[in-house]
Symmetry: C2
Subunit: 388 residues, 2 copies
């Protein structure tokens, strides 16, 4: 089959990824995430080249496809798991338990016990009650305390859901010791989609202040978990992965010296390894004199594109008509849910000739799509996944 | 087993529902939606008593549990389906095809063809392109045109995603005729969670203006689909179902006379037939001097409580400690997702003694929970459903 077979022109200007080429030349019965696992390996290598001797713990929640985990085990990645389910997944693909950290600060006691029995030795916490659960179910385990940091430069700053403030963190180090745990260090998150490495500086300064206070208080910390925030391309320029990672590490080493560093890329590891093959279901106007169109796709907020909430992540679209004239559209999903509108405040530019049945490729959809998909809202099946 | 077995006091003041009693006296391994199908039948009867000779088309998307559809078929309900999957579900439970309307205005052509072949005769549309798809795949079918209405009195006014303006609607009636379709009437949606029947008046006036214009233009319309909007109790007083439905119908009959009326209750049919049995995973403060607590449940935005987006739907919580002193909390879900915070702008009052492991019953969760649940975000399984 050639690209011409499905009416999509070659687009040399955009040098489509392998996943995109695959999505263009194949037909799909329903919205499908096409995943290129070689690209994931490429990204691992690129990030590791910049991170040097820091350990990569892939954030499994970004995309738990079995084939991604399998490949990352092969290339020597470590893993950050959010749940028992993710730990089981990693173990099933051959990951050694000691390479898996249980990074959710909100854990079910029985899941902590499961992880401990399986050989997981490192757990996250940001509260005394969590330390107690860990001490009871994983006696003597290593813990890192998650800090709240101010991170207003990220495209998508995190809420205050995770972490605690400095003085509380110091108290938790003390408490961990009292409980017989091994307080290894701190973690933080710079904010989702932090596009340039220099944006890390102010956040690292905040962490360093708490780190220094902990040492003054007698804690010999050895581990700094720098979390995620590694960006993907959603229309705004980002630094290439190796340069970005190296830029972060230079700033880390300048402040923290020769500590053990772990990083948890998720989006930055898998986003550009996937595209979604979708289709236009309807193009309409609400009245004859309305300037913009409404374009309805066969995929929406509840079937994979949850990260369009508040229009936070702006996906890029490719259609067979991109050489034609373009115009602004409100983009919406296929469900009978009034909230299933993808982009409205900031409209999307799409070909004016776009019509029902046209195919659409949505770029850089490898992260936070398939696992966010609902089990069957409106009777639509979950996002299909095709690994190439 | 008695209620005492799991430490939950009797709460005569709140006269817990049958589902709530069940949730209190049983243990669950993971978050579980407990559904009382008898309550659904009760609600059907109560709504039908008020709606008179209007046809109830249950909005399947609100809760597609097989047992709910089965019971509603038994009591004579009709159905509003959003997709082929929902049509198949209804047919599998014995619904006659002619009682199913295909109410999504954004349909896949092959799904229209499937519905038509199966015997479905009534389709929604709000755009010319949709009429063309219907004419090609369901020749001669009945169609109703969805109108956009202003509905600022609903707790959750809808976006402009569905419907078209009056002059476009008239043009679509003409176009439907040209295409050999049977333009039967109009539909609209008054807005989700419209708490009092008198709020319908201004919306019905808008629809009547278009209806009258259509008759002047020579269209003999016979069907008015009044959609959903039938409320559930989320902490603010609502009119009882029969009185509410009767109040709506009085206003409809006063304006539209003896037309065929169909109504599509979803939330109003099933919300109070279900409760979610959940558990506290963690209670914490971000710093020692912070006034409010963070309470983390084992269920969140991505595992069933999607309607907490923008804190729109405010669920009610019951715990075994509700007789103790109460205090404000930020409530969050269990996932490693910073957006998985349920209530923060307007905090929730929960017992100050609340602690990890405490059970929580979330009331009136029968609508828009189980089907919104993600397939496995963070490795958590979808919301379990237990029909009593």
């Amino acid at each position: 089959m050639t690209m011409h077979d499905v009416g999509l022109p070659a687009r040399d200007d955009l040098s489509p990824s392998r996943a995109e080429v695959y999505a263009r030349v194949h037909a799909f019965d329903r919205p499908t995430l096409v995943l290129d696992v070689d690209r994931v390996e490429h990204n691992f290598d690129a990030l590791q080249a910049g991170l040097g001797d820091a350990h990569i713990h892939y954030a499994v929640k970004a995309n738990p496809a079995r084939e991604i985990i399998e490949r990352l085990v092969q290339v020597g990645s470590h893993f950050d798991a959010a749940s028992r389910g993710e730990i089981e997944l990693c173990l099933s693909q051959g990951a050694r338990a000691e390479t898996i950290s249980f990074g959710n600060t909100v854990k079910r006691p029985s899941d902590i016990a499961f992880a401990y029995e399986a050989g997981v030795t490192l757990f996250a916490a940001d509260a005394e009650e969590e330390l107690q659960k860990i001490a009871e179910n994983a006696p003597g385990a290593g813990v890192y305390i998650r800090l709240i940091v101010e991170n207003s430069q990220a495209d998508w700053p995190l809420s205050r859901k995770f972490g605690c403030h400095g003085e509380m963190a110091l108290a938790l180090l003390d408490r961990a010791k009292e409980l017989g745990l091994d307080p290894a260090g701190f973690s933080f998150h710079v904010g989702s989609q932090t596009r340039r490495s220099e944006m890390w500086g102010p956040v690292l300064d905040q962490v360093l202040a708490v780190w220094a206070a902990a040492h003054e208080a007698g804690h010999k910390l050895r581990l700094l978990n720098i979390g995620g925030g590694f960006p993907a391309f959603y229309g705004e320029v980002i630094e290439p992965a190796t340069a970005y990672a190296a830029g972060v590490m230079r700033q880390v080493r300048a402040r923290f010296g020769d500590v053990l560093v772990m990083a948890e890329p998720g989006r930055g590891m898998v986003a550009d390894a996937g595209v979604i093959a979708a289709e236009v279901l309807l193009v309409s106007r609400k009245s004859a004199n309305e300037l913009h169109r409404w374009v309805y796709l066969d995929i929406g907020k509840f079937s994979g594109l949850a990260e369009t909430m508040d229009e936070a992540i702006r996906y890029q679209f490719a259609t067979p008509r991109d050489h034609e004239a373009m115009g602004p559209c409100i983009l919406a999903g296929p469900s009978c849910d009034s909230a299933d509108v993808l982009y409205e405040k900031k409209m999307v530019s799409l070909p004016v000739g776009l019509t029902a049945g046209d195919r659409v490729v949505i770029r850089n959809c490898g992260a936070y799509t398939s696992s966010y998909s609902s089990v069957g809202f409106n009777g639509f099946p979950p996002l299909d996944v095709c690994v190439i």
